[in-house]
């Protein structure tokens, strides 16, 4: 049962912290319901925005972990060809996905008669939010993966729960802050 113990031991604290963060996220959203109800399209798009940036971070973490385990990325904080390929691959995927999300989201919004207020500004703020979070997450995940791997830990067990929960909190936080600045 070595594998079980390793997973359980490495994940327990992180999972508990992530659950607490999830509850904070719910409380934060509930407290900012006025902003969200003023721009209902954000409510419609928020779950997919959370999961988009969460998915890209999950892919990055699991790719970095696989690279580290099979030795295609050295456990050193330095630029490598594989890392550059991953960066551009994920950045282009993210940009294409944001546009798809906006098109699909606004179409569903129109079909379901959700009130659409100031669409161009909202779209711009969504793009800025996702780009800021991607830049922060790429650097954070790369450095953390290397450090955890060097300590003999599996980065998947630590970084995926932390980043997903963190992003579930940071995405609405950044978007609402930008909304309050620009509107």
């Amino acid at each position: 049962m070595e594998y079980f113990k390793k997973i359980f031991k490495e994940s327990l604290i992180v999972v508990i912290l992530s659950s607490i963060m999830g509850i904070f996220s719910g409380t934060f959203l509930a407290e900012n319901d006025e902003v969200l109800y003023s721009f209902p399209i954000i409510l419609l798009l928020l779950p997919s925005l959370n999961s988009l940036i969460g998915d890209i971070s999950t892919i990055l973490t699991s790719r970095l972990t696989s690279h580290l385990y099979i030795g295609t990325i050295p456990p050193k904080i330095k630029k490598s060809d594989k890392l550059v390929q991953d960066f551009y691959g994920l950045l282009i995927t993210l940009i294409l996905s944001i546009f798809a999300l906006i098109i699909i989201g606004y179409s569903v919004g129109l079909i379901t008669a959700v009130e659409i207020v100031n669409p161009f500004l909202i779209i711009l703020l969504i793009i800025i939010t996702i780009m800021i979070l991607f830049a922060i997450m790429f650097i954070f995940l790369f450095i953390s993966s290397i450090l955890l791997f060097k300590l003999g830990k599996d980065p998947n067990n630590y970084l995926i729960p932390i980043t997903t929960s963190l992003l579930d909190f940071l995405t609405p936080l950044t978007l609402i802050l930008l909304l309050q600045i620009f509107i």
Partner: protein
């Protein structure tokens, strides 16, 4: 043959999965509004929902990533699968109780809603998460296997697809739990 790690391959494999994920999540949002919003105890349920939706990152995401890695490094077998599943369920039960306990505290000190017995608030997340995993684990393991056997990188394909499926399952299983427990 295109290198498994080239940016072209990442885009080709991850983007279609992301489209599935986006559609699934937008629909999950719509379903959530239609199914959960009419509950009288919605103000309490909304506290639990974001934590439950983060299940994909807390439990499903690492489970999928570990399974993908096991396939890639050639260590996937019955023993590793059983231990991976057992660990995920054990963590799920603990996560459920943590979410339930925090929701209970927030209800006592902040929301003060007495429509639901206190032990229901503890049990709803546990039952809901275990129910979700019972569908999610076989589904993601199968997808990982299919992706790997077809020469795709499971890391790029499975996580985004499972995000959409997991979010859908979470909402549906949460709703089923509420109905089964008779939550008003």
């Amino acid at each position: 043959m295109e290198d498994r790690n080239s940016k072209g391959r990442i885009i080709k494999e991850a983007f279609p999965s992301e489209i599935v994920s986006i559609i699934g999540d937008i629909l999950a949002g719509v379903v959530l509004t239609v199914l959960i919003l009419p509950f009288q105890s919605f103000i309490l349920l909304i506290l639990i929902i974001p934590a439950l939706l983060s299940l994909r990152g807390n439990l499903s995401g690492p489970y999928i990533a570990r399974t993908s890695r096991d396939f890639i490094i050639g260590e996937f077998n019955k023993n590793s699968l059983i231990q991976n599943v057992l660990a995920t369920y054990s963590l799920a039960i603990i996560t459920g109780f943590v979410i339930g306990s925090l929701s209970l505290l927030l209800n006592v000190f902040l929301i003060k809603l007495d429509l639901i017995p206190w032990y229901f608030i503890l049990l709803i997340p546990v039952i809901s998460i275990c129910l979700t995993l019972s569908f999610s684990i076989p589904c993601s393991t199968m997808l990982n296997y299919i992706a790997f056997k077809n020469g795709l990188d499971p890391n790029n394909v499975v996580s985004p697809i499972m995000t959409a499926i997991d979010d859908f399952l979470t909402v549906i299983c949460f709703f089923l739990t509420l109905v089964l427990m008779g939550v008003p």
